[in-house]
């Protein structure tokens, strides 16, 4: 009974780890820019690796090797999002522009100008409201 429960828990953990790692692989290949790819690499890949390592620790049982596996699990859980954050931050400081809805619609060069006109128009609306209050 306990052996059957352990067997199916290992199978469920391995299949869940494979699923999340597959989602991570599809995200790194298909997503449009470096920031979205760093997002999927930091979260989904960490969860997939953690589930697969938990399955290995559960299969090894009470011995010294499972202590190594649990240490490896905590190390991956700490360092994998840290590494993805460092990569995304180096991309931001290098000056890589993120893909937005505007830049995906009509190219990268129009994106800062439309953003600035949006800010100016909102400022003009606020100013006209104040002016209308004064003239009335």
């Amino acid at each position: 009974m306990i052996e059957a429960a352990r067997f199916w828990a290992i199978v469920v953990l391995v299949v869940a780890g494979l699923f999340f790692t597959f989602v991570s692989a599809v995200g790194v290949i298909r997503l449009p820019d470096i920031y979205a790819r760093a997002h999927t690499a930091s979260q989904t890949d960490t969860l997939g690796a953690g589930l697969a390592l938990a399955a290995v620790a559960l299969a090894l049982g009470w011995q010294q090797a499972s202590v190594y596996t649990v240490l490896l699990l905590f190390f991956v859980f700490i360092t994998n999002p840290t590494a993805a954050h460092a990569i995304a931050r180096s991309a931001a400081e290098t000056g890589i522009e993120p893909v937005t809805a505007d830049s995906a619609a009509d190219g990268d060069t129009r994106e800062p100008s439309t953003a600035s006109t949006d800010r100016n128009s909102s400022d003009d609306d606020g100013g006209s409201d104040v002016d209308g209050g004064e003239t009335a």
Binding site: F7, I29, D45, A49, Y68, E93
Partner: protein
């Protein structure tokens, strides 16, 4: 009820083979990524997959010393990602 046709070692070896396929998918982004950070991120995810493959092989082949290799690989993978991402920002600043 444990199925008698498949053992737990075969499940680990099959999962390791599928993880190898997912790691090979990462080579597309490592080769075709437009920026340096894309390639670095793809190599980082590939290294994490390699750590998981080594752990699955340690359980599947019943060779526990593979876990030592996986631990050292995880350490070097993290060090590589942080060092190269630091190196791309201020070139020659830390290395």
């Amino acid at each position: 009820m444990i199925p008698s046709s498949v053992s737990i070692e075969e499940i680990f070896l099959l999962a390791a083979a599928l993880f190898v396929v997912l790691a090979i998918m990462m080579f597309y982004r490592a080769v075709a990524g437009p920026t340096t950070q894309d390639r670095l991120l793809a190599v980082n995810v590939l290294g994490t997959n390699t750590v998981v493959i080594l752990a699955l092989l340690a359980a599947g082949l019943d060779e526990p010393w593979f876990l030592d290799v996986a631990l050292i690989y995880a350490l070097l993978n993290f060090l590589m990602a942080v060092a190269i991402s630091k190196f791309t920002v201020e070139r020659g600043g830390v290395l």
